[in-house]
Assembly symmetry: C2
Homo-oligomer: 169 residues x 2
């Protein structure tokens, strides 16, 4: 199963591709989609869509896990993030992937078991779980990998619960 995590943003959208095979999880690719602040807004959205489309075509993920924000101190920037998020969800839909949204709190809970964990702890867990010896340059890519791992965690739990209630566990 291939899951792509997405940390959406107008300037930088982080992405992280992970493959789960039984209990083994390995990173396939991670990085960022960048747009120029000098370009017009609709062209920036056009670039994000095109790059997301290529990424989804390359890996054909079953699931795309994307960050959901419900409140923000900066509403204007949150809306720009949401515009970018809209075009990425569109690309995922058109690529046949199911889209799942997770809040930063859900990611923290899944990764370190506590909502009070710092961002550094989450990043440390991402590196450990994926056996990445070196740090990940981009915090956006790291956050995207955390979203993908969060989805796998929640997904595995759900499947087990389903099996248990069906009396097959």
């Amino acid at each position: 199963m291939i899951v792509i995590g997405i940390d959406p943003g107008l300037s930088t959208t982080g992405f992280g591709v992970v493959e789960a095979d039984g209990t083994r999880i390995r990173p396939l690719e991670f990085g960022g989609i960048r747009t120029s602040p000098g370009a017009v807004l609709s062209a920036r959205l056009g670039k994000i869509y095109k790059e997301a489309e290529k990424l989804f075509a390359r890996y054909r993920p079953q699931a795309v896990a994307i960050e959901q924000i419900f409140f923000s101190s900066n509403v204007k920037s949150a809306m720009r993030v949401s515009e970018a998020k809209g075009v990425i969800m569109l690309a995922a839909h058109r690529a046949g992937a199911e889209v799942f949204e997770y809040t930063p709190l859900e990611v923290k809970m899944a990764m370190v078991g506590g909502g009070k964990a710092g961002k550094e702890q989450v990043r440390f867990m991402v590196r450990s779980l994926l056996s990445l010896e070196e740090g990940i340059d981009s915090t956006h890519a790291s956050d995207a990998l955390a979203l993908a791992l969060c989805h796998l965690h929640v997904h595995v739990l759900r499947e087990r619960l389903k099996a248990a209630t069906e009396g097959k566990d």
Copy 2:
């Protein structure tokens, strides 16, 4: 010159197509793109994109005027609106149209000359300017037409200003 105004929304996106020919302005089409609340989010965005794409292909507008919101009492719903707005701006970009954003205040100023005007006054002006004898059923469509008219107003003023500063007026 053809301008399409868009009042974005996840459940209903209002649109209004107007054609300006010298001082004559006429409405070509207006209505709404609706999605089912029961459908998954990414599929709803998929529908909005597809319908917007068809609309822009049908009229090939030079400009798309879309509502810009900077604050909201309901941040969650504002973010859903922004996601829908993102895919519409993407469709406009891919159709070769320039995208312009106007706040509700700018629309009011352009339509009735005062920011304190009520929504009813704006709607009355839309009907008057477009010589629509009957009311417009959908407030979304009416707001979209107001956005298109706001753009024409601002555009004409800008062109005149440009001509004046170039000493051609």
